[in-house]
Protein backbone atom coordinates (compact mmCIF):
# COMPACT_ATOMS: atom_id res chain seq x y z
CA UNK A 1 0.00 0.00 0.00
CA UNK A 2 1.47 3.29 -1.03
CA UNK A 3 0.33 6.75 -0.08
CA UNK A 4 2.05 9.69 -1.62
CA UNK A 5 2.17 13.08 -0.07
CA UNK A 6 3.95 16.27 -0.73
CA UNK A 7 5.01 18.95 1.65
CA UNK A 8 5.41 22.06 -0.36
CA UNK A 9 7.61 25.15 -0.10
CA UNK A 10 8.87 26.46 3.18
CA UNK A 11 12.39 25.15 2.76
CA UNK A 12 13.72 21.63 2.80
CA UNK A 13 13.93 21.43 6.58
CA UNK A 14 10.19 21.54 6.91
CA UNK A 15 9.76 18.86 4.31
CA UNK A 16 11.41 16.38 6.63
CA UNK A 17 9.19 17.33 9.55
CA UNK A 18 6.22 15.33 8.35
CA UNK A 19 8.40 12.36 7.52
CA UNK A 20 10.19 12.48 10.85
CA UNK A 21 6.91 12.77 12.65
CA UNK A 22 5.48 9.73 10.89
CA UNK A 23 8.47 7.65 11.99
CA UNK A 24 8.35 8.92 15.55
CA UNK A 25 7.16 7.47 18.82
CA UNK A 26 4.55 10.24 18.96
CA UNK A 27 3.01 9.00 15.75
CA UNK A 28 3.06 5.47 17.14
CA UNK A 29 1.29 6.62 20.31
CA UNK A 30 -1.28 8.45 18.20
CA UNK A 31 -1.87 5.34 16.07
CA UNK A 32 -2.24 3.12 19.11
CA UNK A 33 -4.93 5.47 20.37
CA UNK A 34 -6.74 6.19 17.12
CA UNK A 35 -6.64 2.95 15.14
CA UNK A 36 -5.65 0.53 17.91
CA UNK A 37 -2.38 -0.39 16.24
CA UNK A 38 -1.62 -3.11 18.74
CA UNK A 39 -4.73 -4.97 17.66
CA UNK A 40 -3.81 -4.41 14.00
CA UNK A 41 -0.47 -6.15 14.49
CA UNK A 42 -1.80 -8.99 16.64
CA UNK A 43 -4.63 -10.25 14.45
CA UNK A 44 -5.46 -13.86 15.07
CA UNK A 45 -4.69 -14.80 11.44
CA UNK A 46 -1.17 -13.40 11.59
CA UNK A 47 1.52 -16.04 11.91
CA UNK A 48 3.26 -16.39 15.22
CA UNK A 49 6.62 -15.06 14.06
CA UNK A 50 5.42 -12.06 12.12
CA UNK A 51 2.90 -10.65 14.60
CA UNK A 52 3.56 -8.43 17.59
CA UNK A 53 4.16 -9.44 20.30
CA UNK A 54 5.66 -12.65 18.95
CA UNK A 55 7.70 -15.24 20.76
CA UNK A 56 10.92 -13.55 19.66
CA UNK A 57 10.10 -9.99 20.77
CA UNK A 58 9.56 -8.39 24.12
CA UNK A 59 6.18 -6.87 24.75
CA UNK A 60 7.11 -3.29 25.56
CA UNK A 61 6.70 0.04 23.84
CA UNK A 62 10.28 0.29 22.64
CA UNK A 63 10.13 -3.14 20.98
CA UNK A 64 6.84 -2.20 19.43
CA UNK A 65 8.45 0.96 18.10
CA UNK A 66 11.24 -0.94 16.36
CA UNK A 67 8.60 -3.35 15.05
CA UNK A 68 6.64 -0.32 13.80
CA UNK A 69 9.71 1.01 12.01
CA UNK A 70 10.00 -2.19 9.99
CA UNK A 71 6.39 -2.00 8.88
CA UNK A 72 5.90 1.69 8.15
CA UNK A 73 8.21 3.59 5.85
CA UNK A 74 8.00 7.30 5.01
CA UNK A 75 10.70 8.33 2.60
CA UNK A 76 11.34 11.43 0.57
CA UNK A 77 12.28 11.08 -3.04
CA UNK A 78 14.81 13.88 -3.17
CA UNK A 79 14.51 14.51 -6.87
CA UNK A 80 10.76 14.99 -6.97
CA UNK A 81 10.23 16.16 -3.39
CA UNK A 82 7.41 13.64 -3.06
CA UNK A 83 7.28 11.56 0.08
CA UNK A 84 6.30 7.96 -0.14
CA UNK A 85 4.44 6.37 2.70
CA UNK A 86 4.38 2.60 2.86
CA UNK A 87 2.39 0.70 5.44
CA UNK A 88 2.52 -3.06 5.86
CA UNK A 89 0.00 -4.86 8.02
CA UNK A 90 -1.76 -8.18 7.88
CA UNK A 91 -4.79 -6.98 5.95
CA UNK A 92 -5.44 -4.47 3.20
CA UNK A 93 -8.09 -2.57 5.17
CA UNK A 94 -5.81 -2.19 8.17
CA UNK A 95 -3.03 -0.87 6.00
CA UNK A 96 -5.31 1.68 4.43
CA UNK A 97 -6.68 2.71 7.78
CA UNK A 98 -3.24 3.20 9.26
CA UNK A 99 -2.00 5.10 6.23
CA UNK A 100 -5.03 7.37 6.29
CA UNK A 101 -4.56 8.05 9.99
CA UNK A 102 -0.93 8.91 9.38
CA UNK A 103 -1.83 11.22 6.52
CA UNK A 104 -4.42 12.99 8.64
CA UNK A 105 -1.97 13.36 11.48
CA UNK A 106 0.61 14.67 9.04
CA UNK A 107 -1.82 17.24 7.78
CA UNK A 108 -2.69 18.26 11.31
CA UNK A 109 0.96 18.65 12.09
CA UNK A 110 1.47 20.83 9.05
CA UNK A 111 -1.50 22.99 9.97
CA UNK A 112 -0.15 23.44 13.47
CA UNK A 113 3.20 24.37 12.02
CA UNK A 114 1.50 26.93 9.76
CA UNK A 115 -0.45 28.50 12.60
CA UNK A 116 2.66 28.73 14.66
CA UNK A 117 4.67 30.26 11.89
CA UNK A 118 1.93 32.74 10.96
CA UNK A 119 1.58 33.76 14.55
CA UNK A 120 5.34 34.19 14.88
CA UNK A 121 5.69 36.43 11.82
CA UNK A 122 2.58 38.55 12.28
CA UNK A 123 2.56 38.88 16.02
CA UNK A 124 5.57 41.17 16.32
CA UNK A 125 4.45 43.55 13.56
CA UNK A 126 0.89 43.66 14.82
CA UNK A 127 1.90 44.49 18.39
CA UNK A 128 4.13 47.33 17.20
CA UNK A 129 1.27 48.69 15.16
CA UNK A 130 -0.93 48.58 18.23
CA UNK A 131 1.57 50.57 20.23
CA UNK A 132 1.77 53.21 17.51
CA UNK A 133 -1.99 53.52 17.30
CA UNK A 134 -2.12 54.06 21.01
CA UNK A 135 0.55 56.74 20.76
CA UNK A 136 -1.37 58.48 18.02
CA UNK A 137 -4.46 58.46 20.10
CA UNK A 138 -2.61 59.95 23.04
CA UNK A 139 -1.14 62.71 20.89
CA UNK A 140 -4.58 63.59 19.52
CA UNK A 141 -5.88 63.83 23.08
CA UNK A 142 -3.01 66.08 24.05
CA UNK A 143 -3.72 68.32 21.09
CA UNK A 144 -7.38 68.61 22.00
CA UNK A 145 -6.51 69.46 25.57
CA UNK A 146 -4.10 72.11 24.36
CA UNK A 147 -6.68 73.70 22.14
CA UNK A 148 -9.14 73.78 24.93
CA UNK A 149 -6.77 75.35 27.43
CA UNK A 150 -5.42 77.96 24.99
CA UNK A 151 -8.76 78.71 23.38
CA UNK A 152 -7.29 78.26 20.02
CA UNK A 153 -7.83 75.93 17.09
CA UNK A 154 -4.74 76.54 15.01
CA UNK A 155 -2.57 79.51 16.03
CA UNK A 156 -0.90 79.59 12.65
CA UNK A 157 -4.14 79.92 10.77
CA UNK A 158 -5.42 82.37 13.34
CA UNK A 159 -2.32 84.48 12.88
CA UNK A 160 -2.91 84.90 9.16
CA UNK A 161 -5.98 87.21 9.34
CA UNK A 162 -4.34 89.14 12.22
CA UNK A 163 -1.29 89.71 10.10
CA UNK A 164 -3.65 90.94 7.37
CA UNK A 165 -5.23 93.45 9.74
CA UNK A 166 -1.82 94.66 10.83
CA UNK A 167 -0.73 95.04 7.25
CA UNK A 168 -3.84 97.05 6.24
CA UNK A 169 -3.32 99.23 9.32
CA UNK A 170 0.22 99.88 8.23
CA UNK A 171 -0.96 100.72 4.73
CA UNK A 172 -3.56 103.12 6.12
CA UNK A 173 -0.94 104.64 8.41
CA UNK A 174 1.52 105.25 5.62
CA UNK A 175 -1.26 106.75 3.48
CA UNK A 176 -2.28 109.06 6.35
CA UNK A 177 1.31 110.09 6.95
CA UNK A 178 1.71 110.84 3.25
CA UNK A 179 -1.48 112.92 3.19
CA UNK A 180 -0.36 114.79 6.36
CA UNK A 181 3.02 115.57 4.76
CA UNK A 182 1.25 116.87 1.69
CA UNK A 183 -0.96 118.98 3.88
CA UNK A 184 2.10 120.29 5.75
CA UNK A 185 3.53 121.50 2.48
CA UNK A 186 0.39 122.88 0.84
CA UNK A 187 -1.56 124.25 3.83
CA UNK A 188 0.64 124.40 6.90
CA UNK A 189 -2.07 126.06 8.95
CA UNK A 190 -4.97 123.91 8.04
CA UNK A 191 -7.03 122.61 10.93
CA UNK A 192 -7.11 119.29 9.22
CA UNK A 193 -3.52 118.66 10.34
CA UNK A 194 -4.66 118.11 13.90
CA UNK A 195 -7.29 115.64 12.77
CA UNK A 196 -4.66 113.72 10.77
CA UNK A 197 -2.28 113.71 13.68
CA UNK A 198 -4.94 112.28 15.94
CA UNK A 199 -5.88 109.61 13.41
CA UNK A 200 -2.24 108.69 12.89
CA UNK A 201 -1.73 108.35 16.60
CA UNK A 202 -4.80 106.16 16.99
CA UNK A 203 -3.72 103.94 14.08
CA UNK A 204 -0.26 103.61 15.60
CA UNK A 205 -1.82 102.51 18.89
CA UNK A 206 -3.96 100.02 17.05
CA UNK A 207 -0.92 98.64 15.22
CA UNK A 208 1.01 98.26 18.42
CA UNK A 209 -1.90 96.35 19.92
CA UNK A 210 -2.18 94.10 16.91
CA UNK A 211 1.59 93.39 16.93
CA UNK A 212 1.51 92.59 20.60
CA UNK A 213 -1.33 90.21 19.90
CA UNK A 214 0.71 88.31 17.33
CA UNK A 215 4.30 88.38 18.48
CA UNK A 216 4.13 89.79 21.99
CA UNK A 217 6.34 88.38 24.63
CA UNK A 218 4.12 88.42 27.67
CA UNK A 219 1.98 85.39 28.19
CA UNK A 220 -1.06 87.26 29.47
CA UNK A 221 -1.07 89.61 26.49
CA UNK A 222 -2.79 86.89 24.46
CA UNK A 223 0.16 86.73 22.05
CA UNK A 224 0.06 83.93 19.54
CA UNK A 225 3.81 83.07 19.46
CA UNK A 226 4.05 81.09 22.72
CA UNK A 227 0.84 79.31 21.77
CA UNK A 228 2.41 78.45 18.44
CA UNK A 229 5.43 76.90 20.13
CA UNK A 230 3.44 74.33 22.13
CA UNK A 231 1.11 73.70 19.24
CA UNK A 232 3.85 73.04 16.73
CA UNK A 233 5.49 70.52 19.01
CA UNK A 234 2.33 68.48 19.22
CA UNK A 235 1.65 68.86 15.50
CA UNK A 236 5.12 67.57 14.50
CA UNK A 237 4.79 64.65 16.90
CA UNK A 238 1.49 63.77 15.34
CA UNK A 239 2.90 63.86 11.83
CA UNK A 240 5.77 61.57 12.81
CA UNK A 241 3.43 59.07 14.43
CA UNK A 242 1.22 59.14 11.39
CA UNK A 243 4.13 58.36 9.10
CA UNK A 244 5.24 55.56 11.41
CA UNK A 245 1.76 54.18 11.36
CA UNK A 246 1.68 54.18 7.59
CA UNK A 247 5.01 52.34 7.42
CA UNK A 248 3.88 49.76 9.94
CA UNK A 249 0.66 49.15 8.16
CA UNK A 250 2.57 48.42 4.97
CA UNK A 251 4.88 46.10 6.89
CA UNK A 252 1.94 44.23 8.28
CA UNK A 253 0.46 43.83 4.82
CA UNK A 254 3.76 42.48 3.55
CA UNK A 255 4.14 40.12 6.49
CA UNK A 256 0.66 38.84 5.87
CA UNK A 257 1.43 38.28 2.22
CA UNK A 258 4.67 36.51 3.11
CA UNK A 259 2.98 34.35 5.69
CA UNK A 260 0.45 33.34 3.07
CA UNK A 261 3.23 32.45 0.68
CA UNK A 262 5.09 30.42 3.31
CA UNK A 263 2.11 28.28 4.05
CA UNK A 264 3.00 24.62 4.24
CA UNK A 265 0.49 22.20 2.99
CA UNK A 266 0.27 18.52 2.43
CA UNK A 267 -0.99 17.49 -0.93
CA UNK A 268 -1.98 13.91 -1.20
CA UNK A 269 -0.70 13.06 -4.64
CA UNK A 270 -2.26 9.64 -4.45
CA UNK A 271 -4.70 8.41 -1.86
CA UNK A 272 -3.76 5.31 0.10
CA UNK A 273 -4.85 2.50 -2.14
CA UNK A 274 -6.46 -0.74 -1.18
CA UNK A 275 -4.45 -3.59 -2.69
CA UNK A 276 -6.57 -6.40 -4.04
CA UNK A 277 -4.01 -9.09 -3.27
CA UNK A 278 -1.46 -9.36 -0.50
CA UNK A 279 1.84 -7.82 -1.56
CA UNK A 280 3.74 -9.53 1.25
CA UNK A 281 5.24 -11.98 1.77
CA UNK A 282 6.67 -12.17 -1.73
CA UNK A 283 6.67 -15.93 -1.81
CA UNK A 284 8.12 -16.48 -5.27
CA UNK A 285 10.91 -13.94 -4.77
CA UNK A 286 11.74 -15.43 -1.40
CA UNK A 287 11.89 -18.96 -2.75
CA UNK A 288 14.10 -17.99 -5.68
CA UNK A 289 16.33 -15.83 -3.51
CA UNK A 290 16.64 -18.51 -0.85
CA UNK A 291 17.45 -21.07 -3.49
CA UNK A 292 20.13 -18.91 -5.11
CA UNK A 293 21.64 -17.96 -1.77
CA UNK A 294 21.76 -21.56 -0.60
CA UNK A 295 23.26 -22.58 -3.93
CA UNK A 296 26.01 -19.98 -3.62
CA UNK A 297 26.76 -21.07 -0.07
CA UNK A 298 26.76 -24.71 -1.12
CA UNK A 299 29.11 -24.09 -4.03
CA UNK A 300 31.49 -22.00 -1.94
CA UNK A 301 31.36 -24.56 0.86
CA UNK A 302 32.07 -27.51 -1.38
CA UNK A 303 34.84 -25.61 -3.19
CA UNK A 304 36.49 -24.77 0.11
CA UNK A 305 36.12 -28.36 1.29
CA UNK A 306 37.68 -29.73 -1.88
CA UNK A 307 40.42 -27.12 -1.50
CA UNK A 308 41.09 -28.28 2.04
CA UNK A 309 41.00 -31.92 0.96
CA UNK A 310 43.90 -31.25 -1.39
CA UNK A 311 46.11 -31.03 1.67
CA UNK A 312 47.16 -34.63 1.62
CA UNK A 313 50.22 -36.40 0.37
CA UNK A 314 48.36 -39.07 -1.53
Amino acid sequence: MVGLLEANHGGTQDTYAVQDYMMSRDALRMLIQKVDLRAVFSRSYADFLAKFPSIVTRNDFESFYSFYLTHVKAQIDEETGISHLKVRTFSAEDSQKVAQALLDAGEKLVNEMNDRQRYNTLHAVQSELDVTLKELHETEMQLAAYRYSNETIDPMKQAVPMMGTALSLEATLSMMEAEKKQLDLTAPHSPLRKVYAQRIASIQTQMKNAQAHITGHEMNSGSLVPKLLGYDELAVKKTIIEKKLAAETTALEMAKAQADRQMLYVTVVAQPSLPDYAAYPRTAVFIVLTFITMLIFYVIGSLLVSGAKEHTLQ
Binding site: L303, G307, A308, E310, T312, L313
Partner: protein, 274 residues
Protein backbone atom coordinates in the same frame (compact mmCIF):
# COMPACT_ATOMS: atom_id res chain seq x y z
CA UNK B 1 48.03 -38.36 13.31
CA UNK B 2 48.71 -34.76 14.21
CA UNK B 3 51.57 -35.52 16.51
CA UNK B 4 54.54 -33.30 15.82
CA UNK B 5 56.98 -35.97 16.92
CA UNK B 6 55.85 -38.34 14.19
CA UNK B 7 58.15 -37.85 11.23
CA UNK B 8 56.38 -40.20 8.89
CA UNK B 9 54.70 -38.59 5.91
CA UNK B 10 51.88 -41.08 6.47
CA UNK B 11 50.34 -38.69 8.97
CA UNK B 12 49.30 -36.53 6.04
CA UNK B 13 47.34 -39.33 4.44
CA UNK B 14 43.64 -40.10 4.79
CA UNK B 15 42.85 -36.99 6.79
CA UNK B 16 39.39 -36.20 8.04
CA UNK B 17 37.87 -32.91 6.92
CA UNK B 18 38.70 -31.12 10.13
CA UNK B 19 42.30 -32.34 9.94
CA UNK B 20 42.51 -31.15 6.34
CA UNK B 21 41.23 -27.74 7.34
CA UNK B 22 43.73 -27.58 10.20
CA UNK B 23 46.50 -28.53 7.79
CA UNK B 24 45.38 -25.83 5.39
CA UNK B 25 45.34 -23.21 8.12
CA UNK B 26 48.79 -24.28 9.23
CA UNK B 27 50.07 -24.06 5.68
CA UNK B 28 48.59 -20.58 5.26
CA UNK B 29 50.21 -19.54 8.54
CA UNK B 30 53.56 -20.95 7.36
CA UNK B 31 53.19 -19.08 4.07
CA UNK B 32 52.43 -15.81 5.82
CA UNK B 33 55.50 -16.16 8.04
CA UNK B 34 57.62 -17.03 5.02
CA UNK B 35 56.22 -14.16 2.97
CA UNK B 36 57.11 -11.61 5.65
CA UNK B 37 60.68 -12.92 5.53
CA UNK B 38 61.04 -12.99 1.75
CA UNK B 39 59.48 -9.58 1.33
CA UNK B 40 60.98 -7.64 4.17
CA UNK B 41 63.93 -9.76 5.27
CA UNK B 42 65.48 -9.69 8.69
CA UNK B 43 67.32 -6.41 8.28
CA UNK B 44 66.30 -3.17 10.04
CA UNK B 45 62.64 -3.19 11.07
CA UNK B 46 61.98 -6.37 9.07
CA UNK B 47 58.52 -7.65 9.81
CA UNK B 48 57.29 -4.20 10.75
CA UNK B 49 57.44 -3.23 7.08
CA UNK B 50 54.11 -5.03 6.80
CA UNK B 51 52.72 -1.89 8.42
CA UNK B 52 55.41 0.41 7.12
CA UNK B 53 54.49 0.25 3.47
CA UNK B 54 50.79 1.03 3.76
CA UNK B 55 51.39 3.55 6.53
CA UNK B 56 53.79 5.52 4.38
CA UNK B 57 51.16 5.50 1.69
CA UNK B 58 48.08 6.23 3.80
CA UNK B 59 49.88 8.56 6.18
CA UNK B 60 51.70 10.42 3.43
CA UNK B 61 48.60 11.00 1.36
CA UNK B 62 46.59 11.94 4.44
CA UNK B 63 49.13 14.51 5.55
CA UNK B 64 49.49 15.95 2.06
CA UNK B 65 45.78 16.27 1.45
CA UNK B 66 45.21 17.70 4.89
CA UNK B 67 47.76 20.39 4.16
CA UNK B 68 46.80 21.15 0.57
CA UNK B 69 43.04 20.83 0.52
CA UNK B 70 40.46 22.86 2.45
CA UNK B 71 39.77 21.39 5.88
CA UNK B 72 36.15 20.64 5.05
CA UNK B 73 34.51 19.39 1.91
CA UNK B 74 30.73 19.24 1.72
CA UNK B 75 30.78 19.78 5.48
CA UNK B 76 32.98 16.73 6.15
CA UNK B 77 36.46 16.72 7.61
CA UNK B 78 39.00 16.39 4.83
CA UNK B 79 41.28 14.13 6.86
CA UNK B 80 38.49 11.72 7.73
CA UNK B 81 37.45 11.57 4.08
CA UNK B 82 41.00 10.73 3.00
CA UNK B 83 41.51 8.09 5.66
CA UNK B 84 38.19 6.35 5.02
CA UNK B 85 38.85 6.45 1.29
CA UNK B 86 42.52 5.58 1.16
CA UNK B 87 42.60 2.66 3.57
CA UNK B 88 40.26 0.49 1.48
CA UNK B 89 41.81 1.81 -1.72
CA UNK B 90 45.34 0.88 -0.66
CA UNK B 91 44.14 -2.54 0.40
CA UNK B 92 42.39 -3.12 -2.90
CA UNK B 93 45.25 -1.90 -5.08
CA UNK B 94 48.00 -3.68 -3.18
CA UNK B 95 46.04 -6.91 -3.05
CA UNK B 96 45.35 -6.89 -6.78
CA UNK B 97 48.95 -6.00 -7.62
CA UNK B 98 50.22 -8.70 -5.23
CA UNK B 99 47.98 -11.27 -6.81
CA UNK B 100 49.45 -10.85 -10.29
CA UNK B 101 51.71 -13.74 -11.15
CA UNK B 102 51.58 -14.78 -7.52
CA UNK B 103 52.21 -18.42 -8.44
CA UNK B 104 54.96 -18.11 -11.01
CA UNK B 105 57.17 -16.18 -8.57
CA UNK B 106 56.40 -18.68 -5.82
CA UNK B 107 56.77 -21.82 -7.88
CA UNK B 108 59.29 -23.29 -5.43
CA UNK B 109 56.45 -23.50 -2.92
CA UNK B 110 54.53 -25.78 -5.20
CA UNK B 111 57.21 -28.46 -4.77
CA UNK B 112 55.44 -29.19 -1.52
CA UNK B 113 52.21 -30.88 -2.29
CA UNK B 114 50.59 -29.67 0.90
CA UNK B 115 50.84 -26.14 -0.46
CA UNK B 116 48.09 -25.26 -2.92
CA UNK B 117 47.76 -22.12 -5.05
CA UNK B 118 44.73 -21.09 -3.01
CA UNK B 119 46.90 -21.17 0.12
CA UNK B 120 49.57 -19.03 -1.52
CA UNK B 121 47.19 -16.32 -2.64
CA UNK B 122 45.21 -16.42 0.63
CA UNK B 123 48.43 -15.94 2.59
CA UNK B 124 49.49 -13.01 0.43
CA UNK B 125 46.18 -11.20 0.67
CA UNK B 126 45.88 -11.91 4.40
CA UNK B 127 49.29 -10.39 4.97
CA UNK B 128 48.18 -7.35 3.00
CA UNK B 129 44.96 -7.09 5.02
CA UNK B 130 46.86 -7.34 8.31
CA UNK B 131 49.29 -4.65 7.21
CA UNK B 132 46.63 -2.24 6.00
CA UNK B 133 44.53 -2.74 9.11
CA UNK B 134 47.43 -2.04 11.42
CA UNK B 135 48.37 1.00 9.34
CA UNK B 136 44.76 2.20 9.49
CA UNK B 137 44.73 1.93 13.27
CA UNK B 138 47.99 3.88 13.52
CA UNK B 139 46.86 6.62 11.12
CA UNK B 140 43.54 6.84 12.93
CA UNK B 141 45.24 7.15 16.32
CA UNK B 142 47.63 9.79 14.97
CA UNK B 143 44.98 11.89 13.28
CA UNK B 144 42.58 11.65 16.21
CA UNK B 145 45.17 12.53 18.81
CA UNK B 146 46.29 15.52 16.74
CA UNK B 147 42.68 16.59 16.42
CA UNK B 148 42.38 16.29 12.66
CA UNK B 149 39.49 13.86 12.83
CA UNK B 150 36.99 12.36 15.22
CA UNK B 151 36.43 8.72 16.02
CA UNK B 152 33.65 6.95 14.12
CA UNK B 153 30.15 7.53 15.40
CA UNK B 154 29.19 3.94 14.74
CA UNK B 155 32.10 1.49 14.98
CA UNK B 156 30.02 -1.52 13.98
CA UNK B 157 28.94 0.08 10.71
CA UNK B 158 32.45 1.28 9.88
CA UNK B 159 33.99 -2.10 10.55
CA UNK B 160 31.30 -3.99 8.63
CA UNK B 161 31.89 -1.69 5.67
CA UNK B 162 35.58 -2.44 5.82
CA UNK B 163 34.75 -6.13 6.23
CA UNK B 164 32.83 -6.09 2.96
CA UNK B 165 35.75 -4.41 1.19
CA UNK B 166 38.11 -7.08 2.56
CA UNK B 167 35.80 -9.89 1.52
CA UNK B 168 35.44 -8.52 -1.99
CA UNK B 169 39.19 -7.94 -2.21
CA UNK B 170 39.87 -11.62 -1.50
CA UNK B 171 37.50 -12.67 -4.27
CA UNK B 172 38.82 -10.26 -6.87
CA UNK B 173 42.44 -11.11 -6.00
CA UNK B 174 41.72 -14.81 -6.46
CA UNK B 175 40.29 -14.07 -9.89
CA UNK B 176 43.21 -11.84 -10.84
CA UNK B 177 45.75 -14.40 -9.69
CA UNK B 178 44.22 -16.85 -12.14
CA UNK B 179 43.77 -14.45 -15.03
CA UNK B 180 47.27 -12.98 -14.85
CA UNK B 181 48.70 -16.49 -14.83
CA UNK B 182 46.88 -17.16 -18.07
CA UNK B 183 47.22 -13.83 -19.86
CA UNK B 184 50.46 -11.93 -20.20
CA UNK B 185 48.61 -8.93 -21.58
CA UNK B 186 46.55 -8.64 -18.40
CA UNK B 187 49.62 -9.13 -16.25
CA UNK B 188 51.29 -6.15 -17.86
CA UNK B 189 48.24 -3.91 -17.71
CA UNK B 190 47.17 -4.67 -14.13
CA UNK B 191 48.84 -1.62 -12.62
CA UNK B 192 47.28 0.58 -15.29
CA UNK B 193 43.92 -1.04 -14.72
CA UNK B 194 44.02 -0.50 -10.97
CA UNK B 195 44.91 3.11 -11.64
CA UNK B 196 42.05 3.56 -14.07
CA UNK B 197 39.74 1.90 -11.57
CA UNK B 198 40.45 4.61 -8.97
CA UNK B 199 37.30 6.62 -9.69
CA UNK B 200 35.30 3.40 -9.77
CA UNK B 201 36.29 2.62 -6.18
CA UNK B 202 34.58 5.78 -4.99
CA UNK B 203 37.46 6.54 -2.63
CA UNK B 204 37.42 10.28 -3.24
CA UNK B 205 33.72 11.10 -3.30
CA UNK B 206 30.51 10.35 -1.55
CA UNK B 207 27.95 8.96 -3.98
CA UNK B 208 25.60 11.69 -2.81
CA UNK B 209 27.91 14.37 -4.24
CA UNK B 210 27.69 13.21 -7.81
CA UNK B 211 24.69 13.97 -10.01
CA UNK B 212 21.86 11.46 -9.60
CA UNK B 213 22.16 10.56 -13.26
CA UNK B 214 25.59 8.96 -12.74
CA UNK B 215 25.15 7.54 -9.26
CA UNK B 216 24.26 4.07 -10.51
CA UNK B 217 27.83 3.60 -11.74
CA UNK B 218 29.11 3.47 -8.18
CA UNK B 219 25.94 2.36 -6.51
CA UNK B 220 25.17 -0.70 -8.57
CA UNK B 221 28.48 -1.77 -10.10
CA UNK B 222 31.06 -1.14 -7.40
CA UNK B 223 31.03 -3.21 -4.21
CA UNK B 224 34.09 -1.25 -3.06
CA UNK B 225 32.27 2.06 -3.37
CA UNK B 226 29.35 0.54 -1.46
CA UNK B 227 31.72 -0.63 1.28
CA UNK B 228 33.42 2.75 1.52
CA UNK B 229 30.03 4.41 1.61
CA UNK B 230 29.03 2.13 4.50
CA UNK B 231 32.28 2.93 6.33
CA UNK B 232 31.69 6.65 5.95
CA UNK B 233 28.10 6.32 7.01
CA UNK B 234 29.40 4.80 10.25
CA UNK B 235 32.14 7.39 10.48
CA UNK B 236 30.15 10.57 9.95
CA UNK B 237 26.74 9.40 11.16
CA UNK B 238 23.88 11.66 10.22
CA UNK B 239 26.14 14.21 8.53
CA UNK B 240 26.05 12.21 5.31
CA UNK B 241 23.41 10.65 3.12
CA UNK B 242 24.85 7.22 2.33
CA UNK B 243 24.01 5.17 -0.74
CA UNK B 244 24.83 1.54 -0.18
CA UNK B 245 23.09 -1.78 -0.20
CA UNK B 246 24.16 -4.62 2.06
CA UNK B 247 22.29 -7.01 -0.20
CA UNK B 248 24.25 -5.88 -3.27
CA UNK B 249 27.58 -6.10 -1.45
CA UNK B 250 26.81 -9.53 -0.03
CA UNK B 251 25.84 -11.06 -3.35
CA UNK B 252 28.59 -9.50 -5.44
CA UNK B 253 31.22 -10.44 -2.87
CA UNK B 254 29.91 -13.97 -2.51
CA UNK B 255 29.78 -14.48 -6.27
CA UNK B 256 33.25 -13.01 -6.77
CA UNK B 257 34.58 -15.17 -3.97
CA UNK B 258 32.93 -18.26 -5.42
CA UNK B 259 34.36 -17.70 -8.89
CA UNK B 260 37.73 -16.83 -7.38
CA UNK B 261 37.99 -20.01 -5.31
CA UNK B 262 36.85 -22.08 -8.26
CA UNK B 263 39.54 -20.60 -10.50
CA UNK B 264 42.26 -20.95 -7.86
CA UNK B 265 41.50 -24.63 -7.49
CA UNK B 266 42.02 -25.01 -11.23
CA UNK B 267 45.00 -22.75 -11.84
CA UNK B 268 47.67 -25.38 -11.29
CA UNK B 269 48.03 -26.72 -14.87
CA UNK B 270 48.48 -23.14 -16.10
CA UNK B 271 51.32 -22.16 -13.79
CA UNK B 272 54.59 -21.71 -15.61
CA UNK B 273 57.23 -23.32 -13.42
CA UNK B 274 60.69 -21.94 -13.55
Amino acid sequence: MVNKKVRSAKKHVNLTLSQSILTQLRVIYALIMRETLTRYGRENIGFLWVVGEPILFCGGVTIMWTLVRPSHEHGLRMTAMVVTGYVPLVLFRHAVVRSTKAYAVNSSLLYHRLVTPLDIITARITLEVIGVMMAAILVLCGAVSLGYMELPEDWALTLSGFGFVVFFTYGISFIFSYLTERSDLLEKTVSVLTYLALPWTGAFVMIDWIPPKYRWVLEYTSPIANGIEMMRSGFFGSKVVPHYSICFMTYTSLLTFMVGVYLCLRVRPHIELS
